[in-house]
């Protein structure tokens, strides 16, 4: 049984290393919840929680910018620590239930985001998007299912080129989709009615952290007076930024863009590489943020955070929660 969990764990970590930076944060959160559920429900044994703790530690390190992950993990650990403290017999079972609840919450919010955004999409709209956002995909899917006749323009979105994944998934829905290089955003903007973007995180001032290129697309839309809609669950609002924390700049290595031979050749000549994953869009370029609780102006992020976390926001640190979680596990096991 233990071997089986170990195998499961190592394949989950392998998957994290491969896709941890590439996937949309919502897809990654859903994968995370499935994997940790598998890991702990396999044995129902307290010791399996060690794998859970280790997995959470890894995922935070791989994708430190994804606030959805932080918020989900924070909720999970708050509950888990309480169960362990209470030394309940069924604490593993309770944690599994909590995981299922969180997954339902994410899926529910995605559906709400789709329904609300779709009201803002009209038949005949040409919509431009960048990279792959699960929320944007849900919104487009909902609009198409409601019979709206739309066309979608999507940029390739290097590094990772996840705009191509977006184009592939949209093609399956039968929508007319046009793919182009990131450099052509401004060239095509004249043909566009609305820009839809997803988010990795939303900061206290309403600035949106998104896949690199999102801020460029928003600027280009702003210049052309095309509306920019950011679709984001309130679980992506970053309570830490209210306490002055900065959202870290995320980078990757050039091998996601170029072949090994070319990189080696350029390295030899002394060429350096700078491959950012995220950028920051100021609130001025965003017309509205669609959340599962309704549409808000980017400047109104504060109200939601106040509702969610109180004022001043009370947010236990995730690493601290994780440290306590690990201590508790060992305590329970040694007993």
């Amino acid at each position: 049984m233990k071997d089986c969990v170990e195998e499961l764990f190592s394949s989950a970590i392998k998957e994290l290393n491969e896709k941890g930076k590439v996937l949309s944060s919502t897809s990654l959160a859903l994968i995370m919840l499935s994997r940790i559920e598998e890991l702990i429900s396999r044995t129902e044994n307290i010791s399996s929680l060690r794998y859970l703790a280790e997995y959470l530690d890894r995922i935070i390190k791989i994708r430190s910018s994804a606030i959805l992950l932080h918020n989900i993990i924070r909720e999970l650990l708050k509950k888990a620590n309480r169960y362990l403290e209470e030394a309940r017999e069924d604490s593993v079972d309770k944690i599994v239930q909590e995981i299922i609840k969180l997954r339902k919450m994410i899926i529910g919010s995605l559906q709400a985001l789709g329904t609300i955004t779709s009201k803002r999409i009209e038949s005949g709209d040409v919509i431009m998007t960048h990279a792959y956002s699960t929320s944007v995909f849900m919104a487009l899917k909902t609009a198409i299912k409601e019979g709206k006749d739309i066309r979608v323009y999507v940029s390739e979105s290097r590094p990772f080129s996840n705009g191509i994944t977006m184009a592939e998934n949209l093609e399956k829905l039968g929508v007319e989709v046009t793919l182009f290089v990131d450099s052509a955003m401004r060239y095509f903007m004249k043909e566009v009615d609305k820009v839809l973007l997803g988010a990795e995180a939303i900061a206290a001032n309403g600035a949106v952290v998104g896949k690199v290129g999102s801020s460029l697309l928003s600027l280009v839309a702003h210049e052309a007076r095309v509306r920019v809609l950011v679709i984001s669950s309130i679980m992506k609002f970053s309570p830490e930024t209210f306490l002055g924390e900065l959202i870290e700049e995320e980078r990757t290595t050039p091998d996601v863009m170029l072949s090994k031979d070319i990189i080696a050749e350029l390295h030899k000549l002394g060429v350096k590489f700078y491959v950012p994953v995220l950028d920051f869009t100021p609130p001025e370029y965003i017309d509205l943020i669609v959340t599962e609780r309704g549409i808000i102006a980017p400047q109104a992020v504060t109200f939601i955070v106040r509702e969610l976390y109180g004022w001043p926001p009370e947010v236990p640190n995730v690493s601290e929660l994780l440290r306590r979680f690990r201590l508790k596990i060992e305590e329970v096991i040694t007993k």
């Binding site: 793919l179 182009f180 450099s183 401004r186 460029l216 000549l269 002394g270 060429v271 700078y274």
Partner: protein, 330 residues
């Protein structure tokens, strides 16, 4: 008199795109005029002028959309026409044509170097420069500044779909310049660290708008937003005379297979891949155009066309009206 074989060969070369690149096309055309003049065997002035005009028309029709070609020809012909009333024999006319053609060839060859010298004056020590694609004129400026001992740092975009940015970083790094390759999507993110943007041009329109590699216009926009100066390095023969009369520059869209593999295209018949090669940057986002004649504001493009290449709107109008007359008399 018949058109010499050598001239027809050059015309064919331009037409078949064996002769490529704005500079080479322009120099070949000037050279063709020079050869034609040298091979003229008649001795009446009027016949010579008609002959040279015929050659000019043949050359102009090889690639009607090329920007540098009409400039090279007009550089020569306008110098002849300006003095037409004072010329008394063929020899004098020949001297003007052959002299102007040689002058054009020498000048255009020196243009890159001069652009480097002039442009480098605009670069300060410790400047961080962003460039896009692979432009010889932009590189001439950057490399000259470095040779002058300025400690500069360069960011170069990879420039999808054809990765010309890789050629740029190779050239700069092999000179010892500190250069970093970035994805095209990161230009706004990087702009805060940039002091100056230097790009090349495929064509400059009469209103100062610049046609260059796709992506240039959004880089210029991001620079404008961040109050970073944008310089376009361009030889004057890239200034487009056709736009003087309101001709629109048509942007070529290239094969989708440059962006994704043909296998991908076959697998995804419903995904339309569009691949525009160039875009147009409005003059508002350009601080200056660095030419071999000096640094000019983009709005002064029309001056270059007039002074250097002798283009006047009436030339065009005359040509249009005379061709219309020709049609009606038929």
């Amino acid at each position: 008199m018949n058109i010499p074989k050598e001239v027809l060969e050059i015309a064919d070369g331009i037409r078949s795109m064996k002769i490529r690149g704005a500079g080479r096309i322009a120099r070949s055309a000037a050279n063709a005029l020079k050869i034609a003049s040298e091979m003229y065997t008649g001795n009446t002035l009027n016949e010579y002028i008609e002959y040279i005009k015929t050659i000019a028309d043949v050359l102009l029709n090889t690639r009607p959309t090329a920007v540098s070609l009409p400039n090279a020809i007009n550089f020569v012909i306008s110098r002849l026409m300006r003095k037409i009333d004072y010329i008394s024999d063929v020899e004098e006319a020949r001297n003007i044509v052959e002299g102007a053609a040689s002058e054009f060839i020498v000048r255009s060859k020196e243009a890159l170097k001069l652009i480097g010298v002039i442009g480098a004056k605009r670069i300060r020590d410790e400047d961080v420069i962003l460039t896009h694609c692979n432009s010889s004129a932009a590189l001439s400026v950057i490399m000259k500044a470095y040779e002058e001992g300025k400690n500069i740092k360069v960011f170069a975009t990879e420039t999808r779909p054809k990765f010309q940015g890789i050629i740029t970083v190779k050239i700069l790094a092999s000179k010892g310049i500190d250069v970093t390759l970035i994805p095209d999507s990161a230009v706004r993110l990087i702009m805060k660290k940039v002091d100056k943007v230097i790009v090349g041009a495929d064509a400059v329109a009469a209103n100062g708008a610049v046609v260059n590699k796709i992506g240039t216009s959004q880089i210029a926009l991001a620079a404008h937003e961040a109050r970073v100066r944008v310089f376009v390095a361009a030889e004057t023969y890239k200034f487009s005379p056709a736009t003087v009369t309101g001709e629109l520059i048509i942007i070529e869209e290239r094969k989708p297979s440059e962006v994704v593999s043909t296998a991908f295209l076959e697998e995804h018949p419903k995904i339309r891949v569009r691949n525009p090669a160039f875009d147009v940057t409005p003059a508002d986002y350009i601080d200056a155009i660095i030419t071999e004649k000096g640094v000019i504001p983009p709005q002064a493009a029309i001056l270059i066309l007039k002074e250097e290449y002798g283009w006047v709107i009436s030339d065009y109008l005359l040509r249009i009206s005379s061709s219309e007359e020709g049609e009606t008399t038929k």
